[in-house]
Amino acid sequence: MTRLSRRDFLKTGAVSSVALLNGCQPLFGKAASKAHVVVVGGGFGGATAAKYIRYFDPNIRVTLIEPKAKYITCPASNWLFAGLATLDQLSVDYQGLKNYGIEVISDTVIQINSKQRSVTLSSQQSISYDRLVLSPGIDFRWDTLHGFNQELSQRFPHAWQAGPQTELLNQQLQAMPDNGTLLICAPPDPYRCPPGPYERASMMAFWLKQHKPRTKIIILDPKRSFSKQALFEAGWKQHYGYGSPNSLIEWVSLADNPLVSLDAERKTLTTEFGDHFRGDVLNIIPPQTAGKIAIDSGLGNSSGWCPIQPMSAESSLLPFIHVIGDAGHYSPIPKSAFAANSEAKVCALAIVNLLNQQAISTPNWLNTCYSLITPEHGISITNGYQVNAENGITAIKSAGGVSQKTDPASLALEAVYTQSAYYNLRSDCFD
């Protein structure tokens, strides 16, 4: 068997494993041993796919294309607002992946030539592939709020891609007047990280409670309800006066009265029925679609996301291209880093099966999203998923759900696990 034990793989990295393998005759045919997989996007999905393809079959050549030398994780980026982390601590580089023999190219893919099975980089270099994995993350729709545009996100940051936007929003938070108001405009479904806006409000409130207790965060929501709502609201009540006139956090559902326009000068948002919300800081998180390269390449449908065949993660629209992570239409699996990791493993295994002319094994997916309400109060939601009879994806009903134990000791434990789970997930993807 060409398969190395996991321990060998982790110890040696794949470069030396190739040498190791030369001793025992490779099981796979010549064509398979030379197969080339190109992975576009070095986020949670792409990094995991690249790593695990090499883990499953070190004879496959893997090239990862990602413009950034350092990737800053969105998970844990909300901790910044509570003063619990710096962007530096949330940064990873690609040395870990290079150690597995993955070639990492610092560039952007500007075109996918699906007929020739090649991608074109911004340097004009062309790279051919046997299979392409696309994990480009999200893009924003800038045209849904009158008076708002991409340029204005420099004043009203989304901070929904971690980096300078996160720092800008944090500076604005800290510079808020003592009785100021911060508006969080939550996006409509489906979007990256369903509990994200509410975790953000919690982390901001934690900081404001200590430094500017007379301020207020108002979440303006196009939805009627949100992820882990009962747990968030119980936590807000306990820590931030939720429900009382002096609450640090207010949640307003605008499901029947959506925001329609922004007056940038007055920092005021107006709804369809003419209600106004003025803020000192506006965190406008726009509606989202699959990353631009996926949409430009014809991989998206009218939903703005990329339909896939669950068994293989292969696009339903174009052959030999697999889409994973936020960009893919994996509903009911939420768009999270944890899910991107799970989707990437299913994809990696399927690609290895396909390149070796083997049957694709039955996949399953798992998602778990932890959120912090304070550094000592953590909550979670989890679900397993499987393929259903219609070749779609279904949540496993007998399992999953939100935190059941809400005594202080359990919540404190979950806060500790939140941090562990973050670092371990990151390590499973990038190290």
Partner: protein, 93 residues
């Protein structure tokens, strides 16, 4: 190391879906239970756990016989035979 590539169909499956291989299940454990044991991780690496210990722990989680925050919700996603398969797979790593 033996690799299970064929779909194993089981008529007695708990969730009435095709039985999953131990490997396919285990892949989703590594996100939290790191394969490279990190110092001071509150969620332990499962390296070195015996098959018996893994299987018993998972069954205890699944049937609510032990006090835990998250694992009972995860373990309920798998049939008893899948739990046996993932325990066997993990113990060989």
């Amino acid at each position: 190391m033996k690799r299970w590539l064929l779909m194993v169909l089981s008529l007695t499956s708990f969730n009435s879906h095709a039985e999953l291989s131990g490997e396919n299940i285990a892949l989703n454990c590594f996100n939290c239970h790191n394969r490279k044991p990190a110092a001071n991780s509150a969620i332990p690496s499962l390296n070195g756990y015996s098959r018996q210990r893994l299987q018993q722990a998972m069954l205890d989680f699944k049937y609510d016989k032990t006090n835990a925050t998250l694992m009972p919700r995860i373990a309920k996603a798998y049939s008893d035979s899948e739990i046996s398969a993932v325990a066997a797979y993990l113990s060989q790593q």
